[in-house]
């Protein structure tokens, strides 16, 4: 009897111990964030040079105990990074405070109510000295939803030893490349991914029209659009194309250029630093020129980069706004230029020695390109629009060079459905 009693008591004791351990775990899990200065999580795409870690550390230090910024690194691929963000935000996840938002995502996230608008003094500070073209990418329906961090644009990179004068138009470039006895490839981005939309948009903008007039209305004038599509068709059917054209992205383009098979490449500024490290011989002959134009109209280079937004589900919005201002400030932008070769979004920084050192001889060109850039369409249904473009125009070989009936009608029809978010994509 006594023995039985003993075991029963031991059992009960065990249950009490287990229960209190469990309760303790639950309590500590909840309590971590409510006591002491908050930890702000900063979700942003990874930058291999270490920009994110460096700026987060500096801004934490500058906050002087008010908050700690903890970077949460997302994939470098824009689509994959977005996927992770929307899955969390769609579920109203409050573990995100600050979001590094790709320029194309602002309207989508703002319309869904996931990010908070900037107001008052902070809004003023966030937009001071920022390129107007970049500021547009951070705004939606007249409100500023993010503080521009870095921007990005593509240049035409060419081999100075093979080509004396960089070509002005795409047609000219294809002609020159076809004549070259060797290394005559033109490297672009034409895989079925966001980078293809970047290229298509730049061509359409340069041809003199736009994809959208407003979030739900198509622009897409027929003649200029057809001229833009013809460039893709012409390159796809030219001897100057690379064999991996339908699977080419920024990285395959850079690799081919560094490998010495390409005379021309349109790519972001990182390509210069990359070549310097991997292929110094090629880098010595690497010239930077303005992004090519489609016809006699001025070129409209692509515009990339990140803007920092504050999540509407954050429990520490006030601190998050402050932290985002620091993270996107001029000091942080210069860190990004120094460590990762990313162009600043503040126009006044282009005479800074750090920027000049990162872009030897072409800092002014980068600035001009950002100013002239033709941003991608602004609409909450951006994913539908970009999917429609990619699905209709990929592979690039499916677009005829010239003469034959092109893909204009199909593109228009699919984009019309996309802005209304109809059908499958």
């Amino acid at each position: 009897m006594g023995e039985k009693f003993e075991t029963r008591r031991a059992k009960r004791a065990l249950i009490v111990v287990l229960a209190s351990a469990l309760a303790g775990a639950v309590l500590s899990a909840c309590g971590g964030s409510s006591s002491g200065p908050p930890t702000l999580s900063f979700f942003v795409a990874i930058q291999p040079g270490g920009t994110i870690e460096a700026t987060a550390e500096r801004c934490t230090k500058e906050a002087d105990g008010k908050y700690t910024i903890k970077p949460e690194l997302l994939p470098n691929d824009a689509t994959q990074a977005r996927e992770q963000l929307v899955r969390r935000l769609g579920a109203k996840d409050n573990s995100i405070d600050i979001i590094g938002l790709d320029v194309i995502l602002t309207s989508e996230f703002a319309n869904a109510g996931w990010i908070a608008p900037w107001t008052g003094k902070q809004k003023e500070e966030a937009s001071k000295d920022v390129f107007p073209s970049v500021l547009k990418t951070a705004s939606f329906e007249g409100e500023l939803y993010a503080s521009p961090f870095n921007t990005n644009t593509q240049l035409l990179w060419y081999r100075k030893d093979l080509v004396k004068q960089p070509p002005k138009t795409w047609d000219e470039m294809i002609e020159v490349a076809e004549e070259l006895p060797e290394a005559g490839q033109i490297q672009v981005q034409a895989e079925r991914y966001e980078g293809y939309t970047v290229w298509v948009n730049a061509l359409i903008e340069s041809a003199g029209t736009s994809i959208l007039k407003s979030p739900e209305e198509l622009d897409l004038e027929q003649k200029p659009t057809e001229e833009a599509l013809e460039v893709i068709g012409k390159l796809a059917h030219s001897s100057a194309r690379s064999p991996e054209l339908p699977t080419s992205n920024e990285d395959t383009a850079r690799l081919a250029f560094e490998g010495g098979t390409a005379a021309f490449m349109t790519n972001y500024t990182f390509a210069f630093a990359s070549a310097k490290e991997n292929a110094p011989e090629i880098n010595k002959e690497m010239g930077a020129a303005p992004f090519p134009q489609v016809n006699s109209n001025p070129a409209k280079p692509p515009l990339g980069g990140f803007n920092l937004a504050v999540s509407n589900y954050s429990g520490h919005k006030q601190e998050a706004f402050e932290a985002a201002l620091c993270l996107s400030g001029e000091k942080s932008e210069l860190t990004a230029t120094e460590l990762d070769g990313l162009p600043p979004s503040h126009e006044n920084l282009y005479t800074n020695p750090i920027v000049k050192k990162a872009y030897p001889g072409f800092a002014g060109l980068v600035k001009e390109e950002v100013e002239a850039a033709g941003p991608r369409p602004v609409t909450p249904a951006y994913q539908d629009v970009t999917s429609a473009i990619q699905r209709t125009l990929h592979p690039p070989e499916s677009i005829p060079a010239e003469g034959e009936e092109g893909k204009y009608d199909e593109l228009k029809e699919n984009l019309e459905a996309a802005v209304k978010r109809e059908g499958l994509l």
Binding site: V86, E191, P246, T247, S387, L425
Partner: protein, 316 residues
């Protein structure tokens, strides 16, 4: 459930009590059985029935996370959108092509490997382990390995003899499909082989001996003995693989992401759900895929009489 319990009962037992006259012991045993089952049933309901029902409810709504204020009930309209879309039928066809080609090649290869494993004289354990390696590798990892192997710049395949050095495998419809199907076959043939081996070991050796005495050739023994007796195992293996192959996702997602018209219905559903955040249309696709898979399973089990739990055709 009751019927099968009765059927499973040994014939030696006294005839079951007449309906309506259940002894109190049986009653309490049944109660105990239900209580023992309950946790499992509740978990099953929570993790399978609830999501399926929830997906069905979502599929009846116009629901786009990017436009939260426009949510409304629209009945079966999402199904109309999906079924009237050319893209859906194109992807159904792609899925069907990948499924039929990969499963039939897997069946043949799996059978060969099963026979080898069965007849292996030495190193049986080693052979069986080695064969299983591809199946043990995570599909995404395997898909990356295949992608890298066939990649234009870095892959080794283009460096092999008889293959054009500049062949861009993922740059064309057929060549992309070939790589995807090869990856699928490489990955799941071991599974097929293992299921077939399980069927193979149940065939008594005496049958082969008798046939040999009667002068049957190896081919005759295979066709007249092995195949008929293995039919149940083959059907079960086919059922599992067809169900799995009709939801093919990972390999395509990694290798082409659906480019070059290699999209499967699962990728299409993913695009609507995760990329477009169109939960209504995406859920409709999920429900349609579920119905498709359900239909296949129904056909196998009722049409061909597969008994999954016993691995043999049911005779009632």
């Amino acid at each position: 459930m009751e019927a099968s319990a009765q059927r499973a009962g040994k014939p030696a037992e006294p005839p079951a009590a007449k309906p309506g006259k259940v002894s109190s012991r049986t009653k309490s045993e049944r109660k105990l059985a239900w209580m023992l089952c309950a946790p499992a049933v509740i978990v099953m309901l929570a993790v399978t029935a609830y999501p399926i029902l929830y997906a069905f409810v979502l599929s009846l709504q116009k629901l786009d996370l990017r436009f939260p204020e426009q949510t409304e009930f629209i009945g079966l309209a999402n199904y109309g959108t999906v079924l009237s879309s050319e893209l859906w039928w194109l992807d159904v066809w792609n899925t069907f092509v990948i499924m039929v080609i990969s499963v039939s090649i897997e069946l043949v290869l799996g059978m060969v490997i099963a026979l080898v494993m069965h007849r292996a004289i030495f190193g049986r354990g080693l052979v069986r382990t080695v064969v299983l390696i591809p199946y043990g590798i995570i599909t995404v990892v395997a898909a990356f390995a295949w992608q890298f192997a066939f990649a234009n710049e870095s892959g080794f395949v283009d460096a092999l003899p008889f293959i054009a050095d500049e062949k861009n495998w993922f740059g064309g419809h057929i060549s992309s499909l070939v790589v995807i199907i090869m990856a699928e076959i490489w990955k799941t043939t071991p599974f097929m082989a293992l299921l077939l081996l399980a069927g193979l070991v149940t065939i008594p050796d005496e049958l082969y001996e008798a046939a040999r005495v009667d002068g049957a050739s190896a081919w005759q023994r295979f066709v007249k003995i092995t195949l008929p007796l293995m039919k149940p195992a083959i059907l079960v293996a086919l059922l599992f693989r067809v169900l799995e192959a009709s939801r093919v996702f990972d390999s395509i997602f990694i290798m082409t992401h659906g480019a070059q018209n290699t999209e499967s219905v699962s990728i299409l559903g993913f695009e609507q759900l995760i990329n477009r955040l169109n939960l209504g249309v995406g859920s409709a696709i999920s429900v349609l895929i579920f119905l498709g898979v359900f239909g296949i399973a129904f056909l196998f089990i009722k049409g061909f009489g597969v008994k999954v739990e016993e691995g043999r055709p049911g005779g009632g």
